[in-house]
Amino acid sequence: MLDNFIAPYESTATQRLKDAGFVTLGKTNLDEFAMGSSTETSYYGATRNPWNTDAVPGGSSGGSAVAVAAGMAPAALGTDTGGSIRQPAAFCGITGLKPTYGRVSRWGMVAFGSSLDQGGPMTQTAEDAAMIMNTIAGFDPRDSTSMDQPTVDYTATLDQPLNGLKIGLPKEYFGEALDDGIRQAIMEAVKQFESLGATVKEISLPRTELSIPAYYIIAPAEASTNLSRFDGVKFGYRCDNPTDLMDMYTRTRSEGFGAEVKRRIMVGTYALSAGYYDAYYRKAQQLRRLIKQDFQAALADVDVIMGPATPSTAWNIGEKTQDPVAMYMEDIYTLSVNLAGLPGMSIPCGFKDGMPVGLQVIGNYFDEARLLNIGHQFQRATDWHSRKPNV
């Protein structure tokens, strides 16, 4: 759909990096319109995981994760609507931070789920992520969802000790869906935090499983409206020889979008259609408030929430492409963070059968500095982040 598109303007995030002296090496592959958890829905073909080239790198920001994991670039940007920074970061063994909704400007970013989307850094270390955040975060009047919050020096607090840090482990993140190898790696990481002075307690996020249906209504609904702009008129693909306007719209969109994008547009269109809006979209938004309240209650009691970023390590290419719902279930630990708008980070914390495992750290609104501090302290005490695949 956008193969022939040349962006006529620079995004705020990339402009800020350019202004700071960063050099752009290239654009990376991702799932088409960021819809996917494996980078297999890309128009340009699947990206492979550098730890095992038969495996997916995760997605949707799989190309960014691989560029950093394989040492092609020290840092990349990704966007995260339901886990698209954190999950590929986990699958590729790098650090990925999804900031608070509204923290990084979305000006210049393709809109997917407007109430969920957020961009952020994908790097080899939390310290690098802090430096990228110092450059890209902050208010932007050109993004109507940008939050006018004071800017923070994310590097200033990296060295703070973790004495007294209160960590919550949601019991719902350690249920049957979780791979045993990942459970083990996460619990080892938690022990490491205890030895760094943190205290740990069990908490509950009772609606974790319901975040999957809530997300897979809200995100497609918003995507179906956002993607209505791809009509063959002002930019992007247009079908050959349209006979009339309706033929142009219909063939342009049918030929220009891939199967997963079409599927989500149809789910979203149905969920928003007259007679079904209350049962689907409104209901999902009500659930969304309950999910946010669960997080608020938990974060009143602990400083951060920790758990796995993903229930399994990277699966093989082609393994889940025939069953979209099976792929959606893999997003169970990341979706609720977007629904609540909280910041979340994945850092490497071990391996299962040679494949990287990601520890997810979820913080309170605009508490990215604490997440990066936690990541940095962990990376000073461990060397998971410095393991490299043979490429």
Partner: protein, 95 residues
Amino acid sequence: MSLDRSQVETVAKLARLKVEDQELDNYVNSLNSILDLADQLQAVDTEGVEPLANPLDATARLRPDTVTETNQREKLQKNAPQAEAGLFLVPKVID
């Protein structure tokens, strides 16, 4: 709630998409499995819960009604499939 072939065709039409006959069963099946998943929501009691549209409960910011962007029509129209004399061309709409 389950969609049949003609309902999926109607939804596709609303979305300005055409599903080819040989793809239709595939879409019917995958859409129904997604809607089965979504139906888990129906069991939750959400009586009196205010829907959450923006995760920070923020509302769209207003700005002064002044010109902030410069005219870049030619640059922007370079991406248009068909443009002429500053206009976007589309198939004939009115006879």
